[in-house]
Symmetry: C2
């Protein structure tokens, strides 16, 4: 009998999220716990195995009812070895053989993928991707994460690190990025960058609605910038316009690189919804070429914070379908 | 018995080039004739069929000794229908069913591909690609053509027009491109752009070695710019430095998009050889990220003007290998 579920896990620096996901991409049961990476990889992997058992229990299932586990984690990863090479938000973890350890503890096959790719696969499979095999997702959070789907599969490339579109250089010799480059997309169009740029402008003497918030709270968030822009604050409107312009230019470059049917925008900044989508589409329309109408649809993500677990489970389903019969 | 050859054809606005190519990518016989697109598509297709017959004659071969014909043409193409939709340098040709007509006239299976992709496939298969499955080629000619190889196959994307990297926006709100965009790579780092930018600078009153050439010949070429830069002319050195910088930024963006093992530089500008390669590599080194060493090797193309026919033949070989046994 065909198993009816896969388990998807989204391992982050602060939370472990997991879900039992059926063959259509719908979540049957969810589970979550706090991640304490400082307790060591082995402890955290044991906790993940326990969550898998808990999910099986909730569904009254045994391991045979599940096609496998998909695991999304921060990277960089070595996908061949199934290792976390290192990860900024999992301090002290280096060369962790997380795939094989979780496999040993659970007795289920595990597919490892980086978290941004897993989220992109989730939107492709069961979200805003609309069932088309060629899709790019940008996750506009602290940075800009991304994943590229080509012909129904995640693009990895020779070094297994394709689709790092947050580090596409959009402004030559532009703002410095901690990655060592200058002018990266994520210095302009991430939630983190929007807040940082507002603070920098205020500290440089510009005025506006956010001055009071900065004075009281000591910081401002991208949400503050969006709200002030909505209320007509000139500084925030200018920053928002630039955010959307650079994002639209990134979409033009994505169009010419991958020619996808769909570009999906997710992450914290996408909570601005139409206030993000409409100007990005308009700037894209103004900045795109006229030679062909090979125009991707730019849409908002639809799975929100479940994209990671659903996508990870989808990768377990995909691996199961490709496995030779035994 | 396995056939020993494929035919590769490179159809351009001024020439038809063709070759008999063996399974290793080596050319056995070549043929070429002038292309007169104004005489109509049907006439030109008949001439291509005649060239195929001539090549078979030179090799004392019959159609059964050949796996098929690969045909590279200007685009945009409809690969599903096997049609040239239209092409700037084939005036009057619209919706030309070139694949099926050539197939009917020759009795051999024909694979259609756009010319930049065919050249990229040639370098991948039998040139500078070095046998690695993930490669990007930039052809720096009148414009910037490109082709992307993912896992040993050309990337097409949903609209069959992926890898148009000459229209990657490198400078937001930069120089106008006939495509309707601003700041496209091909406005900075093509042979055509190098010449145009030199002329514009001279016409704006800048001085230098090229002023005499412009006065006498009424124009300057990218080769003139390279030679003057080699001789230390300040204007040409500045233009060349910018050309190499923007090309290096394109390589950074290619790295993060596709993560290829190799980026191959070809076309007229690549005739500058080390004078192009060394500064592009140096600018790439200075502008790339420090997070990972997922660094493509940047190399010069090795097949020169044969890349198109060899790549087209390679696509015929690839199609033959994928054909189900009869």
């Amino acid at each position: 009998m065909t198993p009816g579920h896969a388990i998807g896990i989204d391992l982050g620096g602060t939370n472990i999220k997991a879900a039992l996901v059926d063959a259509s991409g719908a979540i049957t049961y969810k589970a979550a716990t706090i991640c304490q990476p400082e307790r060591g990889a082995e402890t955290v992997i044991s906790e993940m195995a326990q969550i898998c058992q808990d999910l099986l229990g909730k569904g009254s299932l045994s391991a045979e009812d599940v096609v496998g586990i998909g695991l999304g984690t921060p990277g960089p990863l070595d996908l061949t070895k199934g290792e976390i090479v290192r990860a900024a938000n999992l301090p002290g973890w280096t060369a962790v053989p997380i795939r094989d350890r979780l496999q040993e503890l659970t007795g289920m096959p595990v597919v490892l993928e980086n978290d941004a790719n897993a989220a992109a696969f989730g939107e492709f499979w069961a979200g805003a991707g609309g069932g088309c095999g060629d899709m790019v997702m940008l996750t506009l959070g602290t940075g800009v994460g991304s994943g590229v789907i080509v012909d129904g599969r995640l693009l990895h490339g020779h070094f297994q690190n394709a689709g790092e579109l947050g580090h596409m250089i959009i402004v030559p010799e532009g703002l410095s990025c901690p990655c060592g480059q200058r002018g990266c997309l994520e210095q302009y169009s991430s939630a983190g960058a929007v807040a940082r740029r507002a603070i920098a402008a205020l500290q440089a003497g510009e005025t506006g609605k956010l001055r009071a918030i900065l004075g009281q709270a000591g910081t401002v968030s991208s949400r503050d910038v969006v709200e002030a822009a909505l209320e007509g604050d000139p500084l925030c409107r200018r920053l928002w316009r630039e955010t959307c312009l650079y994002l639209a230019i990134a979409c033009v470059n994505i169009q010419h690189a991958f020619n996808p049917a769909t570009v999906v925008l997710g992450g914290g900044l996408a909570e601005a919804a139409e206030f993000l989508l409409i100007p990005v589409r308009e700037e894209f329309r103004q900045n795109r070429w006229r030679l062909m109408v090979d125009v991707p649809e730019i849409v908002l993500a639809s799975l929100a914070y479940d994209a990671g677990v659903i996508g990870a489970a989808g990768l377990a389903w995909a691996a199961w379908r490709q496995r030779p019969p035994q």
